[in-house]
């Protein structure tokens, strides 16, 4: 046995070094402990606010305990073996290498455990898929990078944009309480009602993800998928787009406000009135200042994330509007570009068509804004009627 020198000798040395190693590891853990103590805030699923989310949460707890028990079982055996069956303790190796009965038993037992996991999971799947007989249907459309909520039963809809100021994101200003999870207009739904969601997208795949409600559904362009939720309690619940959808993927929050029946009814009435009052008269002739003021808002909400607030765009990805030939050239070309988007080789590009997203007034305003901002000084006012004429 001349060979044993390197292997066994090495291991004896290793055994002697073990306490030192453990001390080093302990020191490392101690160094990290303050960070670990601080970090104890978020470690589990968000509290469930729908029956489905409650089922998911229970299922998760149930599965976790099974896993933890198996884990402890298997690794107690392994660590006992590591402790007891080591050469340094003079343990002689047994030479057994199979046992048909044992092997059959430990194939069958995991299988049976899986059956006990599959049964409750299947029950929840069937409940999740039951979108029949809703009290309210809301169509949710994802687009780069905001959500649109369309109350199909009531004939109005609106966009929901990120409200967190750029200064908090990029310039290190103190972050607000709901940093990145706050929107200008949340989705509003009544408590205790079954809300059916019709989810789709106008450009790339997004995912509407509201963890506390146990809902995640991909928004797929060209297809409408459905899902449902029914809240147990009122409150404000927050989530985010979960499917990578381009550069602002991390800035596409979802906020749902669950109101009592009365509060929801008055929100609904107020929203309908406001929508009616805000409707623009398309034949009104606007002056340049009004259009620029309105256009700046439209630009900030819809265009600035790519073309940038400075109008300089992003080199190689998003063209500059400042000094652009399209923006300072014939106005009909620009109107058509905004209405129909830019299509290359039959495929839509990041410059999507805005004709179904923005009204004539909004398009006229934003175009007027771009033609009169930064170094662009065309002095032209584009009227909503001109936009209307170019829609065809």
């Amino acid at each position: 046995m001349e060979r044993k020198g390197a292997g066994a000798g090495g291991s004896m040395k290793a055994a002697r070094q073990q306490p030192k190693k453990m001390a080093a590891t302990a020191a490392l853990v101690a160094a990290l402990a303050p960070a670990l103590a601080l970090a104890a805030k978020e470690y589990n699923l968000q509290p469930a606010v729908t029956p489905i989310a409650a089922q998911i949460s229970d299922l998760h707890v149930y599965i976790m305990w099974i896993c933890v028990l198996i884990f402890i079982g298997v690794f107690s055996v392994m660590f006992y073996s590591i402790f007891a069956h080591r050469k340094s303790k003079g343990h002689q190796a047994a030479q057994f290498h199979e046992n048909t009965l044992v092997e059959i038993v430990w194939t069958v037992i995991p299988f049976l455990i899986l059956v006990f996991m599959a049964v409750p999971a299947t029950r929840t799947i069937l409940a999740m898929k039951d979108t029949a007989v809703p009290d309210l249907t809301v169509k949710i459309t994802g687009s780069q990078w905001k959500w649109n909520y369309d109350y199909l039963d009531h004939g109005f809809g609106y966009y929901s944009n990120l409200k967190t100021p750029v200064a908090q994101i990029e310039e290190g200003e103190p972050k607000g309480e709901h940093y990145l999870l706050e929107v200008d207009q949340p989705m509003v739904v009544p408590v205790g009602k079954k809300i059916r969601l019709l989810i789709t997208s106008s450009d790339v795949i997004h995912a509407w993800f509201l963890p506390a409600a146990g809902v995640q559904q991909d928004a797929i362009p060209g297809f409408v998928r459905d899902d449902w939720m029914q809240f147990d309690k009122t409150g404000t619940f927050r989530g985010q787009c979960a499917k990578i959808c381009g550069k602002e993927h991390g800035y596409m929050p979802i906020v749902v406000e669950v109101k009592s029946a009365d509060a929801y009814a008055s929100w609904l009435a107020g929203h309908k009135n406001a929508a009616a009052a805000a409707a623009d008269d398309p034949n009104k002739v606007w002056d340049v200042k009004e259009l620029i003021a309105r256009g700046e808002k439209v630009y900030t909400a819809n265009c600035a994330s790519c073309h940038q607030p400075t109008g300089k765009g992003v080199v190689g990805a998003f063209p500059a509007l400042d000094g652009s030939k399209v923006v300072t050239g014939p106005k009909d070309d620009q109107i058509k570009t905004v209405l129909n988007g830019v299509v290359k080789n039959g495929q839509p590009t990041a410059m999507v068509a805005w004709k179904s997203t923005l009204s004539d007034v909004e398009i006229a305003a934003v175009i007027t804004y771009t033609r009169n901002s930064w170094s662009n000084h065309t002095g032209e006012a584009i009227q909503p009627a001109e936009v209307k004429a170019d829609r065809s």
Binding site: G7, A35, E42, M78, H85, E103, I244
Partner: protein, 531 residues
């Protein structure tokens, strides 16, 4: 056994060492020797591991605090995407092929790989693919940024970096297919007399099955990215609903490749661990036959579970239930493997040199990854964890603590044989313990982030996720720096390690240990007789 049996052909090989191949750089460019090519694969994969690792550190640095500090979101997405592609196609897969090149001929008693020139070509395609992939960072519009899964329509939107990525994937796929054909042919035709299939070392078995998986699925990936290419440039509408296509079709095709790919990355590691554990327990592998059958079942089941990556696309309940059941079923053969490894250790006579430590670390942490996989297989739970950091934690446990740890173990195990010198055991243990601790510090908190609802692939996050992100980032830098110990340990062994005996590990019993250390340039020119 008091003397090492040298077959005379091996000695003959030493004499010819300087006569039959060029020296310097031309040796490596023109080599058809499986050992040289194995070395090339392993160094290539280590370099790509460092490249992908630097990207991971840039990602973790940005995520150390909420807000944008270091990189723009667009560049963040590019880093994320290329990190994934580089680690999978550049680091893990070539490393596995490197092990196959070195070990398959040695373990079956063959003189070399079956197609030696094709072997050279399948390696030398890789550096060009890597250059193509990495150069996409400097073209207009930057690198691919849709995530390594390249889902359309987002991947149709991006600039020409995406085209470079597609071509790189084509080339890497061709390389993998050639490598696999070579491995299968070698194993089926070049085994030493007496080495029946059921006598092959488990590493050879796992690679045989892996190679079949590769041949089955790499063309599928090539098809998927080719369809992307024609959608991007030639007006087709495979994935464009406006033209009658379906974006979800891509996901089905991609994951029909992608799930077997997961096992492509883990099966060779199973083989390495199944080699190391018996060697250091000084006891034969428990349940050899059931290990082979378990590997085969995992491979077959891997073709039937692809849609569990897509539970949120809105498939019918029947589809969800089917894919959930089959996915759960994979837990059975995987559990059998873990039980077999533990039973191999049971009543052994164990020592804990670095390869054994990595193998035990593998079993421990791979099992964590296996359990989170089981949690994710349950559709209702997956709905709230899909595309969150829980998934990131899960696959890093199986890929980093799984595949990568097994590869580290394999390197320490075979390095004495390959270069004839021992590595420094103290350095090896430092490398293991630091990797083990920091790997857990990095990836364990990601479970919490995912459970709390933090989506993956975001450059910025809500403030309640800050603490765990800080911990993960600290762990990532610790893990990254620990790999420099590995580099140092390997270089030190190669240059100045003490000479290794022919069989430095008491319990090792495969054919390569019957050869002298360092290995002659040509081995087994006369096949050994296996009893």
């Amino acid at each position: 056994m008091s003397s090492i049996p040298h077959d005379h052909a091996a000695g003959h090989g030493v004499d010819r060492e300087h006569a039959d191949h060029p020296g310097g750089i031309m040796r490596w460019i023109t080599t058809t020797n499986h050992k040289d090519i194995g070395t090339l694969y392993l160094w290539f994969s280590f370099i790509m591991f460092l490249v992908g690792g630097v990207m991971a550190l840039a990602i973790r640095a940005e995520l150390f605090q909420p807000g944008l500090q270091l990189v723009e979101p667009e560049f963040f997405n590019q880093l994320n995407t290329v990190h994934g592609l580089v680690m999978i196609f550049g680091a893990i897969m070539p490393a596995a092929v490197g092990f196959a090149n070195w070990q398959v001929p040695l373990m079956i008693g063959a003189p070399d790989m079956a197609f030696a020139r094709m072997n050279n070509w399948s390696f030398w395609l890789l550096p060009f693919a890597a250059v193509l992939l990495l150069s996409s960072f400097i073209v207009p519009g930057g690198a691919a940024s849709a995530g390594w899964t390249l889902y359309p329509p987002l991947s149709v939107q991006t600039g020409m970096g995406m085209d470079l990525t597609i071509f790189a994937v084509h080339i890497m796929g061709a390389s993998s297919i050639m490598g696999s054909i070579n491995i299968i042919t070698t194993i089926l035709n070049m085994r030493a007399p007496g080495m029946t299939m059921m006598k092959m070392p488990l590493f050879v078995w796992t690679w045989l099955i892996t190679a079949y998986l590769l041949i089955a699925v790499m063309p599928v990936l090539a098809g998927a990215v080719t369809m992307l290419l024609t959608d991007r440039h030639f007006g087709t509408s495979f994935f464009n609903a406006a033209g009658g296509g379906d974006p979800v079709l891509f996901q089905h095709i991609f994951w029909f490749f992608g799930h077997p790919e997961v096992y492509i990355m883990i099966l060779p590691s199973f083989g390495i661990v199944s080699t190391i554990i018996p060697a250091f327990a000084r006891k034969p592998l428990f349940g050899y036959a059931s290990m082979v059958y378990a590997t085969g079942s995992i491979a077959i089941l891997s073709f039937l579970v692809w849609a569990h990556h897509m539970f949120t696309v809105g498939m019918a309940a029947a589809g969800q239930v089917f894919f959930m059941y089959v996915t759960m079923l994979i837990a059975v053969p995987t559990a059998v493997k873990v039980f077999n490894w533990v039973a191999t250790m049971w009543k052994g006579s164990m020592t804990f040199e670095t390869p054994m430590l990595f193998a035990i670390g593998f079993i421990f942490m791979f099992t964590v990854g296996g359990f989170t996989g089981l949690v994710l297989s349950l559709v209702p739970v997956d709905i709230v964890l899909h595309d969150t950091y829980y998934v990131v934690a899960h696959f890093h446990y199986v890929l980093v603590a799984g595949s990568l740890f097994a590869f580290f173990g394999g390197i320490y195990y075979w390095l004495p044989k390959w270069c004839g010198r021992m590595y420094d055991e103290t350095l090896g243990k430092w490398h293991f313990w630091r990797s083990f601790v920091f790997c857990n510090v990095t990836f364990f908190p990601m479970h919490f982030l995912g459970l709390a609802g933090m989506p993956r692939r975001v450059p910025d996050y809500a403030t309640q996720f800050t603490d765990w992100n800080e911990v993960a980032s600290i762990g990532a830098f610790g893990f990254g720096l620990s790999q420099l110990i590995f580099l140092y340990a390997v270089l030190k062994a190669i240059r100045s390690g003490p000479p290794a005996p022919a069989r430095p590990w008491e319990g090792s019993d495969t054919l390569e240990w019957t050869l002298p250390s360092p290995l002659p340039y040509h081995t087994f020119e006369t096949p050994p007789q296996v009893s």
